[in-house]
Symmetry: C2
Subunit: 430 residues, 2 copies
């Protein structure tokens, strides 16, 4: 039992942009609650920025500095890394951890690329490294996986972890708009950045999935282990056809643990209407955790935003400060080694759209190509596409990707095929 003390615990900030200034403001606004809960107040000692001469709204005089060493040497117990990027951030974070200073990071690239090294250094020096804010902002999926689900036998994590793409896909489905229009609209409304590559290309989701897979299965999965495809090549016709067939198209990040190892993949995916993820609209994120003991737990909320991300950073920060000297599960043993299963061996139902010459025998040729690769067709629709051509859409039964790739390549090479077939994954009804 400790009585509250007035000696503040000092913390530092690396970065004072949208998230950093929101962290500072939040610590101020909830100062009384925080003091009561921790037993002592929290004081932001120093915040690193690139240029102290620029105005930074909300920063009290004397807070900002432009040398990392000033933050490091200011007597801080913990530092919130909200500057982003891999260089020079990685060096700073390593140096803090090596001095036993705990770090809370909102940096998915850092974690997804260098997590293994960072955890090892933190462990060696008795520092904590928490990273809730690196995945889905205010949705507490990292804490839940790390701390609540340890013995739940989690075997699958899947979700919508990028709000920009979900906003664009909602617009494409709702208004029948094409990708370029929908992206422009998202940019107008501030849901997509001027350079949206990392979001729409799937890289952002892949980094988040690498982090989630690592925690869920206690085995380091790096972003390079996650094959990904974005929505930038998605056509309006596929969203429309999927809708007719009873599916929403979502950018799904999915990882599974099987006897073979870990599979992880990001791509535009057909999600059956009625599935928990089909109804996630606009810029929201949602993650489903599946496991033996928990059946299916869904976490849903805003996956981005300054205050939302800051809320996760502050939650982690208070977690670090509330458990100094021990922390939860900082033991090396959190991670083991599980092999990564290559994408080609992943089994799922698939959607394949083809443009073909509309003449007798076409369906039979196509069916036989799929059959010869052991890919079984669950349903098929054919409709005229004008100019003597027809659009054919297949939904397959669960098939190994390598086999489906081979079948699609064979069909693509037929002289009756008018354009490269388009293949998308389909989520099974749960």
């Amino acid at each position: 039992m400790q009585a509250p003390t007035t000696t503040p615990v000092r913390i530092g900030l690396l970065g004072y942009g949208t998230v950093g200034s929101a962290v500072d403001a939040m610590l101020g606004a909830h100062g009384d609650d925080i003091t009561r809960v921790l037993g002592q107040p929290v004081e932001v000692a120093r915040a690193l920025v690139r240029d102290v001469s620029k105005p930074h709204a909300g920063a009290r005089p004397g807070l900002l500095c432009d040398r990392f060493e000033e933050v490091r040497d200011s007597g801080v117990s913990a530092v919130c890394e909200v500057m982003g990027g891999v260089e020079p951030t990685l060096g700073y974070v390593l140096e803090l951890l090596e001095r036993g200073i705990s770090v809370v990071s909102a940096n998915k690239q850092l974690l997804a690329r260098h997590g293994e090294q960072l955890f090892a250094v933190a462990q060696r020096h008795g520092a904590q490294l928490r990273f809730e804010a690196s995945v889905c902002a205010a949705i507490p999926v990292v804490k839940v996986l790390r701390e609540s689900m340890l013995a739940a036998g989690v075997s699958e994590v899947l979700g919508i972890v990028n709000g920009t793409t979900n906003f664009i896909l909602s617009a494409m489905a709702g208004q029948g708009a094409d990708y370029a229009e929908s992206l422009a609209r998202a940019q107008e409304l501030g849901y997509a950045e001027a350079d949206p590559t990392d979001d729409v290309g799937g890289g952002d989701a892949a980094a988040k999935l690498a982090i989630l897979a690592s925690i869920a299965f206690h085995s380091h999965v790096r972003i390079d282990d996650v094959p990904y495809e974005g929505i930038d090549r998605l056509e309006a016709i596929d969203v429309a056809l999927a809708g007719e067939l009873g599916y929403a198209v979502k950018l799904i990040a999915q990882t599974r643990l099987s006897d073979e190892g870990v599979t992880a993949e990001v791509g535009p995916t057909l999600v059956p209407h009625g599935h928990s993820l089909a109804g996630v609209e606009g810029s929201f994120n949602a993650v489903v955790l599946r496991g033996e003991a928990i059946r299916e737990v869904l976490l849903q909320g805003p996956g981005a935003g300054g205050a939302e991300t800051a809320s996760a950073v502050v939650g982690d920060l208070l977690g670090v400060l509330g458990t100094r000297g021990s922390g939860s599960f900082q033991h090396d043993g959190y991670y083991r080694k599980i092999p990564i299963v290559p994408r080609e061996r992943v089994v799922s139902p698939l959607y394949v759209r083809m443009l073909v010459s509309d003449r007798p025998g076409v369906l039979a040729r196509i069916a036989s190509a799929f059959g010869s690769h052991d890919v079984s067709i669950a349903s098929m629709i054919q409709r005229p596409a004008g100019d003597g051509e027809a659009t054919i859409v297949l939904l397959t039964h669960p098939a190994q990707r390598a086999a489906a790739d081979a079948a699609v390549a064979e069909v693509g090479a037929l002289e009756l095929t008018r354009s490269a077939p388009r293949m998308l994954r389909v989520l099974e009804r749960s």
Copy 2:
């Protein structure tokens, strides 16, 4: 940095029924993971049961005992209380906490009635008390509220926290069945107990809401502070009319923090189609957390079941063992005192159904009764009910309950009114 040790940490179980035996089995099945993560194995030293001579599936020889003292004195660091009930459980838990032995409890009645005393004793003796499993089984809402949302400015928690009633309501909506039929069907399928009073009467949900409100707002709310109504008086006609008006009827537990204090209430409620809670079907639970920084976070999953509850118990147990000596936010200061706002002052839109004589001037009389109490009507439907009678349904704009109660009492007393009006709360679109 600690190296793994083979000295096991000993824990005890109070109770070895569905949940207790599942906890034991889960600790066994995930023994390797747990040892790796904690740095040492966990051993169940003793389990208290009422009658050791009865068969208990899964119990190894020598595990079971029928004297509490044997568990208490077996050198345990923590005890999982999964026996339920308030007596003699309360005395056992207090005695453990007084000896500095941490307790993980799945007992909502214990927490909702005696939480304040239990936390004070735990705090005084440096023991932890965790209780994730007491609310919504595998859905980690307690941990998220306690640890992730400390500075998120949570101002509202609402949800479906009882699976039995949600199963019955889903059946009433889907099949148009009446309450008695739907209850019988739920009992057949094992979703309702032989004596369903605590579930269908709303008491179970009220206990859970008391616990959630206490954590969310850092102020002790007891079950007696939560007015509740169950679904046992709900008529099929109200579910059908609500459906026509664009609403699902759900048993909603809702608590809010305002300048006046805490409001908390459980009752059958109209939830607009499209709201995150309207689509929660069958025995699932879902909780929405709203706050300044997080906007709206939804947690959804199975709210009951042996393995699901055990998963939450084991998560808490590992949390306790992983943070021995500190724990998260065990400081007294977690709780403050906030007044409870009486139900009469709560403001919400309302649904009112009346059976009246179908004659000229009726609508005007009713509208004037509501108007004279400052309850403004948003929409109204009237339809013949046979025998010269008519059913009138009103949806009001947000109104104070006391005013609506007075208006309904006035209408109920009119000689043109054929039966007592029925009033239900309506959730506002978020």
